[in-house]
């Protein structure tokens, strides 16, 4: 067992001070559901764990424009219980409801999920699709981050050692929009083998004004399938275009292949992930489209 000291700062300032002082020796502790597993396996050996819970970084606040700011230390179950999220971002509730187990969701936090930068994160694809932003805090001030630039590689993000992720901000969800995240897993409790988030906004009943398709679990970090997304913009949502987008999403995995190896491991082969991406994308577009239609009709 690798020894560490548990530190519990009383406020954000103290937390930032500790992180700045200890540098790479310290690791922020949120829910611990991932960190403690990796610590036990000896994959991380921090000398200090800095508990960020209870510093006021929990809860959901609604901004003036109807968007929300989710405190990074909010547990997944607290978000699952949020009526505002359920009403305004129902797809998020749906995703949370299928993440891990009840026990895990009572500890795991949204910030922890994002900062772990796991390739199999179920939240990253949808947050990227929505164009989420974040605030990072440090002793010398704060900075705004776009989530799409946040992930560098598995376990690595743009956050500096002395920075704390404060929140995840979501823009208001338009009346003409629909979103969904679909994943393939081996059984009820599993990490995604492949996941697709689709967020689209309609111009009118059958034409798409804006679309974003993000792929998860197929590469080290979530992939925005730009060409697939673009194929839907200003296009009719019909069988032909859905298939075209799905094909392009599948190709997006291939594009990734050139830069980094797509994930090919004991959970699934890369070819299988790719095939599944195609199927999931088509299905996800249809669902997102139907949802957008419904919201227009409401």
């Amino acid at each position: 067992m690798n020894r560490f000291d548990y530190l519990k700062p009383v406020d954000i300032k103290e937390a930032c001070t500790i992180l700045a002082d200890k540098g790479s020796k310290a690791k922020p502790l949120a829910g611990g559901t991932d960190l403690l597993v990796r610590w036990r396996k000896g994959k991380v050996c921090p000398e200090y764990l800095v508990d960020l819970k209870g510093l006021g970084l929990e809860g959901v606040s609604v901004s003036k424009d109807g968007g929300i700011s989710i405190g990074a230390l909010s547990t997944l179950n607290s978000l699952l219980d949020s009526e505002y999220i359920c009403r305004n971002y129902p797809f998020l509730t749906e995703i949370l409801d299928d993440m891990g187990s009840v026990q895990i969701r009572n500890r795991a936090t949204i910030g922890g999920n994002i900062c772990n930068a796991s390739s199999t994160s179920d939240l990253a694809p949808i947050l990227l699709a929505l164009g989420a932003k974040s605030k990072a805090l440090a002793l010398d001030g704060e900075r705004e981050l776009k989530l799409e630039n946040f992930f560098l590689s598995p376990g690595k993000t743009v956050l500096a050692e002395n920075e704390i992720l404060a929140d995840i901000q979501l823009p208001p969800f338009s009346k003409k929009s629909g979103a969904v995240y679909l994943k393939m897993k081996r059984n009820a409790m599993d990490l995604a083998l492949a996941g697709v988030a689709v967020f689209l906004t309609l111009q009118d009943e059958d034409t798409c004004a804006a679309a974003k398709i993000v792929l998860g679990a197929v590469s080290p970090t979530p992939v925005i399938a730009t060409q697939a997304s673009d194929a839907l913009v200003s296009a009719k949502i019909d069988e032909k275009n859905i298939e075209k987008a799905a094909d392009l999403a599948e190709k997006a995995v291939t594009l990734v292949k050139k830069e980094v190896r797509p994930i090919d491991n004991v959970r699934a082969s890369s070819w299988y992930r790719q095939d599944v991406i195609k199927s999931l994308t088509a299905q996800a577009i249809e669902i997102a489209y139907k949802r957008a239609l419904q919201s227009i009709k409401k």
Binding site: R3, D5, V37, Q103, N106
Partner: protein, 159 residues
Amino acid sequence: MKHTISLKVNGESYKIDVQSETVLLDLIREKLDLTGTKDGCRSGECGACTVMMNGVPVNSCMVLAVEADGSEITTIEGLSKGDELHPLQKSFIEKGAVQCGYCTPGMILSAKALLDRNSAPTSEEVKKAIRGNICRCTGYQKIEEAIMDAASTMRGDEK
């Protein structure tokens, strides 16, 4: 590093010294000798170590003891009142939901957490609520029946 923490376990207050690295599971089992909470995988996957922390189920292998400072914990030993069993405990016995018994304490606490929030769960909701608890003996069918039966008893349904 040593920390002195205060917590309530099954209604009893404790002030106790723990190391930074001690997990709640070891505090409960080794220091308090409450061995009803089982050690199954130490990675949050199997649910054998499930306890209620401030009213919600958690994997006690995934919580540092020091993080539980100030909290209220309920373990399986705290569920019955003397000889009076909780309806879930009764149903688990009567419906044949217990075989080797290793998953049982965690399973019952997950079920309790469900019924605390939802007095009339569907079969699907029951299955989902115990997703984090592996049972290798029963195939879950009789566990589901027991939870449904306890829910009905707790609602006061006529049988």
